[in-house]
Symmetry: C2
């Protein structure tokens, strides 16, 4: 019976080395007959169109062809699409959603790594330990603790822009620190805010009142440059700004201008464009820690991407409740 | 009535700038007549002997004179000693303990900052972000995520040496990361291990089986160099070793020798002797992050030291249960 279920696995071999665990292979092969992509490149739209008839399951990842109206029309048996990566906004054509094909995204798995980076950045920015290490290594010296004041994360006012998947995970990681967490998110209900034990505030109050600000907003038409120069100017002296979302959501030039005043510190992982241009003046700032869009990447987390998707596909066929399903009506407010 | 209660406050003015909050002053002055140390130096033993008669409360901190047999004999009204710092092993003479004078320590307040540093070090050591930042700043380049693999803290095997105050706080901070936490602590009961949701293991198994090892053992005769070369040699390749306790508890030369093999990474805040000598070869190692004994220092945490002690003194006189009391029988296994 399950042998007849046709499963298409689209990620190419090179990517699969990083994201496909032996456990995922085994689960998938128990669910049906898997057509593995044996090439080290993504299929073309036409190749997918040729192989999709009869498929019940399609597993995709970064670079896989989108599942278009034409694909959907040819895929009369398709029940579920599992995307072993983040954004699924255009992964499945509207006709697929209308036919109630289930769509899964591993965005919440990746969110775990972004949230870990965010907590690291908060602790790191508060503590200010790099100058001590520099003295220890480069000057072979010893400067006692009062030379560069370190600050606690414990009990600080933390403002999170968006209760997205990442934002919610950051709220979870902050729990033991007894912080006063506020959130700006027009889609967060009072009930959910209460369940998360956070206070909803305006974007203006969040920027003006927080010791630490972290951005987790998705790319949508309404988030485009929603964080402006006025917001950055209102950040408290000595505060910390952490950015791991996308530069889409803020005015990057205004951020730079405010950072150049050296009033507050920042940890920034995302830029526009990427790669960041070599002569970008943010590279000259001592009050900013820069990383090249790596917050979502850990070896272990990537190796779980297909596995977590495949476990949800297994749940689907067992009629169990799904963890990674993306409701069609939520796509418009998602990254 | 309370006006007649005599309170001695011993920390000198310079230290008080960092550790004495206005709130602490106000609480203390409501509890009795406070004799403040107006000098920028510690009192001598003789000065303390002169002023201690009639005192019900003595507040001490780093560098305050110890309360000796002679002081105790002269202090017939002394009910409570509050130490706004860590170690209280020799703070109060045995005759004071026999007379049931209550002893408070702010070690658990300081533990909060050490635990924050420890979690930072764990996240930092797993993620390996410094090479990326160096490329971003010094080379004005952009190296994508696979260049230096980052690792998760989530779900790792973490071994903690001692369920001390710091160790217990680290266990708390790790809760959201769903780690498999083991502890070596001969004084940890099975019941307490169960309550903390950790597994007790031998020191040997802890070193050999952990992805991350963090040392939180106190200075006692039995912990002297209890971590040996054999333990360090058994650490897994690619593991992370974090040390914020005291070098007393380990063989520092053996640690250096193993680190020089570049098999695993380490974050080390404590040394023997301190300051660390300028020519110490640990300063040359790229796989080690060094800081000069700052893990317990944050501006906010230090400013709470007297306040937390004074709140407990207030509880004492209100017959409420105390949070920072040190039982005499526990002194021998404490730092």
């Amino acid at each position: 019976m399950t042998q007849e279920r046709k499963i298409l696995y689209l990620p190419p071999t090179g990517l699969s080395e990083d994201i496909l665990s032996p456990e995922a292979v085994s689960i998938l092969e128990n669910l049906g007959t898997v057509i593995w992509n044996k090439l080290d490149r993504n299929y073309t739209d036409d190749e997918l169109l040729e192989m999709i008839p009869g498929a019940a399951v399609v597993v995709t990842s970064w670079g896989s062809p989108q599942i278009t109206e034409e694909h959907v029309a040819a895929a009369g048996d398709l029940q579920i699409v599992g995307h072993a990566a983040g954004s699924v906004k255009t992964r499945l054509a509207p006709s697929g959603h209308e036919r109630a094909i289930v769509l899964l995204s591993a965005a919440d798995v990746i969110a775990e790594s972004v949230a870990e980076y965010t907590l690291w950045a908060m602790l790191s920015g508060q503590r200010n330990l790099f100058p001590y290490e520099k003295v220890m290594k480069e000057e072979r010296g010893w400067k006692p603790a009062h030379n560069w004041p370190g600050h606690s994360l414990y009990s600080k006012k933390v403002g999170l822009v968006s209760a997205s998947m990442v934002g919610r995970r950051v709220i979870g990681l902050l729990k033991p620190f007894d912080c006063d967490v506020t959130v700006y998110d027009p889609y967060l209900s009072e009930e959910d805010a209460h369940l998360l034990d956070v206070r909803s505030v305006s974007l203006e109050d969040l920027f003006a009142d927080s010791d630490i600000i972290s951005v987790h907003a998705p790319i949508t038409p309404e988030t485009r440059k929603m964080i402006t120069g006025a917001h950055f100017q209102s950040i408290r002296d000595g505060a910390l700004f952490v950015h791991t979302a996308r530069s889409w959501v803020l005015d990057q030039d205004a951020l730079l201008a405010e950072l150049q005043k050296n009033r507050f510190n920042a940890y920034i992982d995302v830029f526009e464009p990427e790669p960041l241009s070599p002569d970008h003046p943010i590279r000259d700032l001592d009050n900013v820690f820069l990383s090249p869009h790596v917050s979502g990447h850990t070896v272990e987390n990537r190796m779980r991407l297909v596995e977590e998707i495949v476990r949800d596909i297994q749940r689907f066929f067992n009629n169990e409740s799904l963890r990674l399903v993306v409701p069609y009506e939520k796509l418009k407010i998602m990254a």
